[in-house]
Symmetry: C2
Amino acid sequence: MKKKRIFLVDDHRMILDGLQSLLENDDHFETAGTYTSAAEAIKYIDSLKPDFIITDISMPGMNGIEFTAEVKKKYPHIKIIALTMSGDAGMIEEMTAAGISGYVLKNTGRKELKESLEKVSSGEMFYSTEAAAAMLMALRQQKKLREEEEKAHLTPREKEIIKLIAQEYSNAMIAESLFISERTVETHRKNIFRKTNTKNIVGLIKYAMEHKLI
Amino acid sequence: MKKKRIFLVDDHRMILDGLQSLLENDDHFETAGTYTSAAEAIKYIDSLKPDFIITDISMPGMNGIEFTAEVKKKYPHIKIIALTMSGDAGMIEEMTAAGISGYVLKNTGRKELKESLEKVSSGEMFYSTEAAAAMLMALRQQKKLREEEEKAHLTPREKEIIKLIAQEYSNAMIAESLFISERTVETHRKNIFRKTNTKNIVGLIKYAMEHKLI
DNA sequence: AAATCAATACCGCTCTGCCGGGATTTTAAG
DNA sequence: CTTAAAATCCCGGCAGAGCGGTATTGATTT
C-alpha cells in the first residue's frame, strides 16, 4: 500500500528532525521533504507531490497562514496541519480561514500525530485537546476585545487623540499639534473616557494597549 | 576511544529528537539520555554519568538556570551548553553566573553543535555567532535599565505607590489604602517623578513597565 | 430635504495633581 | 550612640484636567 507523503515545514531544524523521527518506520506515512521556510517548501510541491503538510505558524518571511493560503489556492487537495505552541492560538481564526485542517502542539507524541493525520485524511478536522482548549480561550478573549472596541466606536480623531496622550502630550500640546482648540481636545477626551468606560489616564492607557490602539 | 556522553533536556520532545538525530553516528559524542524536564534529568545523572548536558532555558518547573546551578553544585565537572532562542538572551548573566559554558541557538546545525561540544570540552566558552550578538544586545539593554533604576533608587514605599497608581488609584485612595495622609502620597509622587525623570503619569507608567515594576 | 454623525468649540466651575519649599519621627546602618 | 535614610506630614499657591452641560458646522446617510 502506497504511503502518504508528508512535507514538514518549520524554521527550527530540530523541530523538523523531531517530527521526522516520529514518522520513521511508519506503515502509512512517510516524510517526503523537510523545509525551513515556506517559500522553499512551495518550490518542491509539484515535483514531490505531498498529500499532507505539517507546518509551523510563526516563521520568518512567509508565515504559516500565508503559506497555507498560497498552497490551498493551487493544491486544494493537500491537507495542512498546523504545528503550534499554545501562544499561537490567537491566530486560530486566520488559520482556519486559510484552510488548515488540524492543530497539534509541538509537544505532541507519535500517537497523537498519527491520529491527527488519519482524521484529517478522512476529511475531519483535528484538534489536540490542549491545542483546542488554548485556542478556544484565545478566541474568546479576542472576541471580547473586538466587541468592546466596536461598542466603544472610537472615531479616527479620537484614536489620534489617544495616540498623542500616550506620547505624553498635554491638552495644550495636542491642540497645537492638531491645529484645534484646547476645548476641542477636552471634549474629545471626555467622549473617549465615556466610550471606553475608563475614568483616568492610567485606565485609558491600559485600554489602548489591550486594544492595540498604541 | 570512549565516546563522551550527553544528556539532552528540553520540554519540547521534537527538539530532543532533533538534537538526538544531530548526534547520531558520531565518533566522539553520544546521547546518554533525553529528558523533558530538568528534575527528571537530575535523577539519572548518578547512574548514567553524562559528561555534557545540552539544555533549554525556558522550561516549566525547574528552568535551565536553576537546573544548571543545581547540577554544578554536585557535579562541577559536567559541562553545560544552553540551547537558546534569540529571545532567551536576556538571561545571559544569570546563565553565565550559574555556570553554563556555551550557548547555541535552536537553529544550530551538526557542525556548529560539534564545534561547541569540542570547545567546551577543552575548557573554552562557546557562543554561536548569532547567539553572541543577540546576547550582547540584550545585555546592554538590561544594564542600561538597571543603571537607570539604581540611579532612580526607588524605595519600597515608592514602588508600592507606583503599583497603586498603575491600578488607577487616586491620591486619596492610595492614602486610604496605605493608612497614610494624602499629603504624604503627594510627596511620594513628587519624589518618584524626580527620581525617574518622568513628568507625568503616562511617562511614569511607561517607565514602570520597562523596569518591570508593575 | 431631513436626519444623523463627526468634528469643532465654548461655558463656569470643581477637583486633582503638581510645585517648591519646609519639617518631624521612625528605622536602619555604622 | 550617632548618623543617614526612609517615611511621614504640612503649607500656600497654581496649573492642568475633568465635569456636565450646550451649541454650530459640514459631511454623510437615509
